[in-house]
Symmetry: C2
């Protein structure tokens, strides 16, 4: 499956199933799951059939079995080691976030050009940018996060790709030119707010 | 226009136009703009025609005129006042971000239940949650950001809607039930990483 939105929905189904489980549910119908995620029950069934997941018309889906299946598809059974470039305001908020580890995502090192940010030990070590390539190769890291200023973002991506990084989450508010087979997902918080403002204004006017 | 992706593209065109301007360009063809944003030139022309923007086949588009038009459509000409609930790691990174103001977005106050976070003055004042409703009504704030823990997110949204907030950017990793005519955009950083991991693993396997 190559559709990003479909995979995002699988993650949402998984998170909703955990919440139903804490509420004491053992089985679930696609309508309940659809409501919890904000899609139609037909969409739930369509997504599941793409991955060979079927329920029983009368009893619905077994929650435990579904969680195991979704965790397998999403690669949650292995710990994913991640590095981050830029240990500034946003980078350090991401480094302090405890829920990533519960999701099997562990930021193992950060890299920054500012010597005052370097720190070999404190929960996550912060190294010099020059050490990124060796660290990624030695520890076989596949995922990187970019939280450097926009002017440094393209250069940082090039370093990550050369080091062997295969997937990057980019927070710098610009479109990066991607060489080779590295997947780049962008989160642009300025655009998210601008987009929200447009729709609020459009609604006020109509 | 009600398509979120179309408005996101308008923001991207605007940002790319500013970059071309700093490089000394005065006019631009749709192909260059398309390349810079990572879409086709047909998409650029289609988006522009939706908003009555036309270029001249031989000379392309006047960059200054385009910027003025896009800023008008995106509501950039007025300062947008924003409040934020939750002044923790993520909330404080957003509060410190200087580029929002360059984009005409100003976080004017934060609200938190933790008394140790309260601060009436420091660049952005942090008030008690109980003061949110009165602050939003007195200052006619339309936009809110939610960066509280997920268990408190729904309650926070309800308070914002009652206060008169019309658009919310939600960072809590859960689907919020929205009453009334408030627009809620979600940014779920856990899902973004999970999504990236899926595609990196899928590529490694194939
Ligand atoms: N903070 C936010 O809320 C926010 C919001 C929207 C977008 N962003 C984007 O996220 C990125 C990070 O923002 P921030 O607020 O954390 O900025 P920041 O200035 O606080 O942090 C940037 C860090 O990157 C380091 N750095 C600079 N050049 C580098 C390089 N070549 N290699 C490695 N490290 C380098 C700096 O030393 C600094 O520690 C920026 O691109 C910004 O536009 C942040
Ligand atoms: N930090 C990250 O990188 C990151 C990543 C992914 C998701 N998130 C999400 O963003 C949100 C904020 O994360 P964080 O890391 O800043 O957490 P945090 O614990 O550092 O901050 C949360 C803040 O919210 C305050 N708070 C708690 N309940 C509140 C309420 N009812 N009303 C107002 N304030 C309240 C707390 O006092 C605290 O200051 C969470 O939902 C989290 O899941 C954060």
């Amino acid at each position: 499956v190559t559709n990003k939105n479909c995979i995002l929905r699988l993650s949402r189904y998984k998170n909703a199933l955990y919440r139903f489980k804490t509420l004491g549910f053992h089985k679930i119908f696609s309508d309940y799951l659809a409501d919890a995620v904000g899609v139609t029950s037909a969409q739930v069934r369509k997504d599941f059939s793409l991955f060979g997941i079927s329920g029983n018309k009368r009893g619905g889906y077994q929650i435990d079995a579904l969680i195991i299946k979704l965790n397998d598809i999403l690669g949650k059974n292995e710990l994913q080691k991640v590095i981050i470039a830029g240990a500034g305001n946003l980078g350090s908020a991401l480094m302090k976030y405890k829920n990533f580890e519960k999701e099997g995502i562990k930021i193992v090192a950060a890299f920054d050009i500012d010597p005052s940010k370097r720190n070999p030990k404190f929960p996550i070590p912060v190294f010099a940018l020059e050490e990124l390539e060796e660290f990624v190769k030695t520890n076989e890291i596949k995922i990187g996060i970019i939280s450097v200023p926009d002017i440094a973002a393209q250069h940082t991506l090039d370093i990550m790709i050369r080091a062997g990084i295969k997937g990057v989450l980019n927070f710098a508010p610009m479109q990066l030119k991607n060489a080779g087979d590295c997947v780049v997902n962008n989160v642009n918080l300025e655009l998210e707010l601008e987009n929200l403002i447009y729709f609020v204004n459009a609604m006020q006017k109509s």
